[in-house]
């Protein structure tokens, strides 16, 4: 269970809070979607939960563990799929996965077997020994995902895992994540693909201006929102049509 209490983040030099007093409870084995326009605070919230940035105030725990007290245990407990391809372009898919797997203490034949098995599962075994440089966006996304789940994390954070990929790759990724969830992994993900979130997530929270403006099961949110036929309607109703460009 992820327990977030009054978490806020204000970046140096910024006038506004990127995340403001968020309280949230994410249950075990949930697929929880953090949705919101650009600059709403989704990535900031997920980055705090992954120990990449420090909250300005507030606390959170993941399955009872905190970074202050259980840093290494917690890092072993979670996996993160960053929005960017966090891979070495001049190394092959296998070499990248072997390295990142080793950082979780995995080694030897067990690691090799696990890598090959997962590559095969995501349709990449044939390309295992090709350099990442030569991969398409969809292939990189899949390797990026595998690098984060080799150690079988209990909680998996995904920041826009399907951005910039074709429909086929997106389906493979979503099916794989659903399978992980079935096997007990809690999934927290951010996305701009509202249709994808509608069918994929057990619960979603819509964030705007650093605050959660609504949360619940996608179907309930649609039902309780006048004139809404899908999650996108709910989203537009709540966040408005104004552009959210920021720099």
């Amino acid at each position: 269970m992820i327990k977030i209490e009054q978490v806020s983040k204000k970046y140096k030099g910024s006038e506004n809070f990127s995340v403001s007093n968020i309280d949230l409870l994410i249950h075990e084995k949930e697929i929880f979607g953090l949705l919101g326009p650009n600059g709403a605070g989704k990535t900031t919230l997920i980055s705090m939960l992954c120990a990449l940035i420090k909250p300005t105030s507030g606390t959170f725990s993941i399955d009872g563990l905190t970074y202050q007290k259980n840093k290494n245990q917690l890092k072993q407990h979670i996996g993160i799929v960053p929005q960017e391809y966090a891979l070495y372009p001049s190394l092959t898919a296998f070499e990248n996965l072997k390295y990142f797997g080793s950082m979780y203490g995995l080694k030897g034949k067990e690691l090799d077997t696990k890598i090959n098995h997962t590559l095969e599962h995501l349709g990449l075994l044939h390309f295992a020994h090709k350099k990442i440089d030569a991969f398409s966006g969809g292939m990189k996304r899949r390797v990026n995902l595998i690098a984060s789940i080799l150690h079988e994390p209990k909680v998996l954070f995904l920041d826009e895992p399907t951005v910039g990929v074709d429909v086929q790759s997106k389906n493979v990724i979503i099916e794989f994540l659903q399978e992980l969830n079935k096997n007990g992994t809690t999934i927290i993900y951010t996305s701009h693909h509202l249709n994808e979130a509608e069918t994929f997530c057990t619960r979603v929270a819509i964030i705007d201006h650093g605050k959660i403006i609504i949360k619940g099961h996608p179907k309930d949110l649609i039902k309780n929102n006048d004139g809404a036929h899908n999650l996108e309607d709910v989203f537009i109703n709540l966040t408005g049509k104004a552009l959210r460009d920021h720099a």
């Binding site: 990449l52 970074y67 993160i80 190394l91 203490g105 080694k107």
Partner: protein, 422 residues
């Protein structure tokens, strides 16, 4: 340990996948050392083997100017060109056509003879060997001036060496003239040897010895350690770029979420880049041993010194790597790390005495050079290469290099921890 091995292997793969980078890492230092040694060797030859064209305006045409010309010819340093007038010679030198013009004044020989005779006569009179002459009748002989014109671009060391050479030559001519004047006064037989004109005081350079064999240092023994060290320290540029690249391509973000310490990540880089330093060092030694003699440069003598040379190379490499780790950790972009790294290495080299010996630097720079790791490394290399030093002799320098590595790496780790503290 397993994570350190994995990190080291990953760094090895990253390095070996970049063929262009490897070529630069290994070939450029070799090109540098060959180029610098050839240039310095040819500069050396300019003063010894090759002849520098100079101008002489001989207004004297007596025995003194003949002796000066003979001395200059015999020095094998200069190619002598005679000119008629001082103004022509001066213009040519000041325009940079010639490095030097020597203007020998009129009546230098006769003036010197008269002056010496006058002095010798005076001395002999004092001893009562000759009739006393009226002092009032003595002619007043003014001193003569040999003028030197140098090309304004001429280096100070060359100027000083020429001035010293001419000064020495003039002193010798004067001494010989005095002896000759005495000889003429004391005997009518010119073949009779009264004075032994050979120098009483001579110089003999005593070289360091090992196993009763003298070490004779040459330009290569001086150049190889200095420029090898320079090349080793350049490792901070690719190393800092490697770290900055990790940040920009996102892999560093992933590593921060992994249960691995920054020290392990840096440990992998340290081991691989230390190997690179040692390979660079081996290649440069091989160039000194086999390529230099083949292109007419002196041979690099490493006999009996290899183990200690490797010790110095390891510690110098570690110091350079520590600096690279710190720079890469602090820098945010390659545009920050690469120019800063390259410029900083040049500053450290200058401070360390790679170009100009530390003892000729101003006092403040001499003090600053004491905190340059390149100075410690260079001294350790010179201890081994030129001073026949033992492990005990280089212990202070290699200890400082090790401390420098530990301090810079620790600062990098603390900086990273502080920046990413939760």
């Amino acid at each position: 340990m397993h994570k350190l091995i994995a990190s080291t292997y990953k760094e090895f793969l990253l390095l070996t996948r970049d063929i262009g980078g490897i070529a630069i890492l290994f070939i450029m230092p070799l090109v540098l050392i060959i180029t610098i040694t050839l240039i310095q060797d040819s500069t050396f030859k300019t003063v010894t083997d090759y002849k520098i064209p100079i101008l002489i305006v001989n207004n004297d045409n007596g025995h003194v100017s003949k002796t000066i010309l003979k001395g200059l010819n015999e020095s094998n340093t200069f190619e002598i060109n005679l000119k008629e007038t001082e103004s022509t010679a001066r213009d040519l030198v000041f325009k940079g056509k010639y490095q030097l013009a020597i203007i020998i004044p009129e009546n230098l020989s006769s003036g010197l003879d008269k002056k010496v005779s006058q002095n010798v006569d005076g001395i002999i009179e004092k001893f009562g060997l000759e009739e006393t002459t009226d002092n009032l009748q003595q002619e007043v002989i003014k001193g003569k001036e040999v003028k030197l014109y140098f090309d304004p671009a001429t280096q100070l060391t060359f100027k000083n060496s020429v001035k010293n050479g001419i000064d020495k030559m003039v002193a010798k001519i004067e001494t010989e003239s005095i002896y000759k004047a005495f000889q003429e006064q004391l005997t009518d037989d010119p073949s009779e040897v009264i004075f032994d004109t050979e120098s009483y005081i001579t110089f003999n350079e005593i070289l360091p010895q090992k196993d009763n064999e003298e070490y004779i240092p040459n330009s290569v023994q001086h150049n190889v350690p200095a420029w090898t060290l320079f090349a080793i320290f350049f490792i901070i540029v690719p190393l800092s770029i490697n770290i900055v690249k990790e940040k920009s391509q996102g892999t560093f973000v992933r590593l921060r979420t992994n249960p691995v310490s920054y020290a392990i990540v840096l440990g992998g880089k340290t081991l691989v880049y230390l190997m690179v330093c040692l390979i660079q060092f081996i290649l440069m030694l091989l160039v000194g041993l086999y390529v230099f003699p083949a292109i007419g440069l002196p041979n690099l003598d490493v006999s009996g010194r290899l183990p200690l040379l490797f010790v110095v190379a390891v510690f110098a490499g570690l110091a350079a790597i520590g600096l690279g780790l710190l720079l890469g950790t602090i820098a945010k972009t390659q545009e920050q790390s690469a120019p800063f790294g390259a410029t900083f290495v040049v500053i450290l080299a200058a401070l360390g005495g790679v170009w100009v010996p530390v003892f000729v630097m101003p006092k403040i720079m001499q003090t600053l050079s004491q905190i340059s790791p390149m100075n410690w490394g260079l001294n350790a290399f010179y201890d081994v290469f030129l001073r026949n030093g033992s492990l005990l002799d280089i212990l202070p320098e290699i200890s400082l290099l090790l401390l420098f590595f530990l301090a810079t790496t620790l600062i990098a780790i603390v900086y990273n921890e502080k920046k990413n503290a939760l």
